[in-house]
Symmetry: C2
Subunit: 411 residues, 2 copies
């Protein structure tokens, strides 16, 4: 149910909006902010004064204007005013990053998980790793705003409980937020890996300022993080983004969800390496042949990736086929959602993301509707393997600083 | 770009919100409204007082409460306080409806179009038809808030210009709003048929109060109207909802958009009747055989529909096949968008909507994710053939009365 709004919520929203303009704008002035937001100069001045007093922003020198107009004082984020920790858990590893307020990574690390079915190992590893990066960066604890955690879903971001991520059998109703807050003393925000990646990309990647975009995240599993109207979109029950279970081929392989030809059946690392092994079994030529004949299971996704990077036709062919199926799915979603941007990222695209980027861009350029009326950008996330950890840290920044409509309309 | 917000916008938003609560709630009281919106009793009282003074609402008698609490005065919309006109243009007809403020249809009519390539014929017909229904209903002109027009897209709702609807070759950059305002003297709002249907369904159909839902509209063409977070969703360039061009079968027939196996290739009336004729050609049994052998082209969609209603196996089979493909597409969209409701409607579903409703409901119940965590409703619009005209009229009510976030955040 929508709720009414009041002056306090409005003040907080306007403050977040001004902070976002300063963050996104390159040395934006008070007058620029008033112009672009429609707020009065007085309101903008008051908000800026308070942000300066609190140390969140700094004055960054006057900027000359054309036509002899009075130069305007530019404003910038003060990067050292605050820090955010991010941790990303996937099936087989934990990655941690420490970000300053401008979104720069000041320290990072990663460790493999030995027992993928044991959430307590992952949680202990997060606790230790965050202390390590804070120590390494030499940042005072008081300056750390909180710890964001990105996990495979489904999960409940309000309680911070991770339900039952597929492929992680020991994980059931894990109270991630509660346990980590007790262990670390930081405020903890938990969200799924795709949404965290989308938030990170909007905070400091190619989605800065984007209103309607999708981040396609591929780790061990696959999901989409959606921004709609500049806000994170979660759907009615919080499960939005399950892009892996879009049925795309009525004659395709059966999927555990009950459909045939779901996207995940063409895009998961396991399916791609299985398809390569099947073609090797059939006798097709490839630089992977020798390894395959010695130990078939050695031809895993890492091997396929290495072979593709060495220009192996078979490995490249399977990756391109997978990328074309994803491109097809995204053409449909661009047509329905009229997105301005699609970003792909995550470990599952590591090293070979350029193949997907190319095929998706081509599919959208050639086969989505209204090519003359709109341009849809397709980008590979620049955060690479850290996308989840950076995204997780940005959840903290987003919680504290993003101008979210949530506060304006929900109870 | 998001904009700041101020007290005037907030007041207008709160007023709309209170009006919506009264409209949706069955004799809701001031105290109920305060409780549900989080607004103070004072704010609610002031807004209600003004709405009573203006005649938009009436007090509808006291309601007893359990536990001996003080009875509360119920509030209702005053249906006769205002009226809205709606006109729906499709390729071959114009339908018009007059709605009162409660959303009841008080008068309606429809006329066929002789020259589908001539927008001026359609516009003249709208002008005449709206005068007819106003006269028939005996409503004073001053009480009519405006005229909503639903058209096939793409179009620009802000200028009211219809670009180039597919299948309507004479229609190019038609200044619908401008011309109709000059001809009728009413304020005109133009929107696409799928969005108008969605707005209508939310105003007075099965989507009342729904936050995240999709209306799948099928007329001569096909489109989806999306509500996201309780707001109409248009996408980055205003073309959101092009569900017909979701590629669903890589081995399917080629589509004009450059893809293969697009949804529209399985769902348009033309494709369905062509498939039936092809099967008749191959000699399959059907009650349509005699007609087909006399005049093949007499087996059009209307004939297929009649045959299906007479339980003809061939006709039913083709409609079910089409419904299954749509069900499949919707399973993917429910998984990605986590919708709470899918409504289907429009002339293309006329008479045989129940077949689609059944197949879609079954597909979503059986094959969408998280069946234990959520219920996704599937409904056939009750507005039947008038869905576009009723939706068009509701555009006017929506413009005047819906609590839209738009005013709170856009310039």
């Amino acid at each position: 149910m929508q709720s009414g709004t009041n002056l306090l919520k409005v003040r907080d929203y306007n403050r977040r909006l001004v902070l976002e303009m300063i963050r996104l704008g390159n040395g934006v002035s008070r007058a620029d902010i008033a112009e672009r937001t429609g707020l009065t100069s007085q309101t903008v001045s008051n908000i800026v004064r308070r942000l300066l007093d609190e140390g969140f922003i700094v004055e960054a020198g006057k900027r000359r204007l054309e036509g002899g107009r009075k130069p305007r004082m530019g404003l910038r984020i003060n990067p050292g005013a605050g820090y955010a920790l991010g941790a990303h858990v996937d099936r087989d590893e934990v990655r941690v990053a420490l970000l300053d307020l401008s979104g720069e990574v000041v320290a990072r690390n990663h460790h493999g998980l030995f027992r993928e079915s044991d959430p307590s190992e992952a949680i202990a590893l997060i606790s230790d790793s965050v202390e390590d990066v804070v120590g390494e960066a030499g940042v005072e604890r008081e300056r750390i705003l909180g710890l964001g955690v990105a996990c495979p879903g489904p999960l409940d971001p309000s309680s911070g409980v991770v339900h039952e991520p597929p492929g992680m059998p020991g994980w059931r109703e894990v109270r991630m937020k509660e346990v980590l807050e007790a262990q670390t003393g930081y405020e903890v925000v938990v969200d799924n890996d795709a949404i965290a990646s989308a938030v990170g990309e909007r905070w400091m990647g190619s989605a800065r300022g984007a209103q309607d975009f999708m981040f396609v995240y591929k780790g061990w599993g696959m999901g989409a993080g959606l921004f709609i109207g500049g806000q994170v979109y979660r759907g009615k029950t919080g499960t939005a983004g399950e892009i892996g279970h879009m049925p795309l081929d009525p004659n395709g392989p059966e999927c555990s969800c009950g459909n045939r030809g779901c996207l995940i059946r063409y895009c998961s690392p396991q399916e791609i390496s299985a398809a390569v092994r099947w073609r090797l079994q059939r006798g097709e030529a490839s630089i992977l042949r020798e390894d395959f004949e010695a130990t078939p299971e050695s031809v895993d996704f890492a091997a396929v990736r290495r072979a593709a990077l060495a220009d192996d036709k078979l490995a490249l062919g399977e990756l391109k086929r997978s990328a074309r199926v994803l491109g097809n799915a995204l053409v449909g979603l661009v047509n329905i959602l009229d997105l301005e941007l699609v970003v792909i990222g995550g470990k599952g695209f590591g090293g070979i993301g350029y193949i997907y980027e190319h095929e998706i861009r081509e599919a959208i350029e050639r086969r989505s509707l209204y090519p003359d009326r709109r341009e849809v950008r397709v980008e590979l996330s620049t955060a690479e393997e850290d996308v989840g950890a950076v995204g997780a840290a940005s959840l903290i920044l987003h919680t504290y600083y993003a101008p979210r409509m949530r506060g304006l309309r929900e109870v």
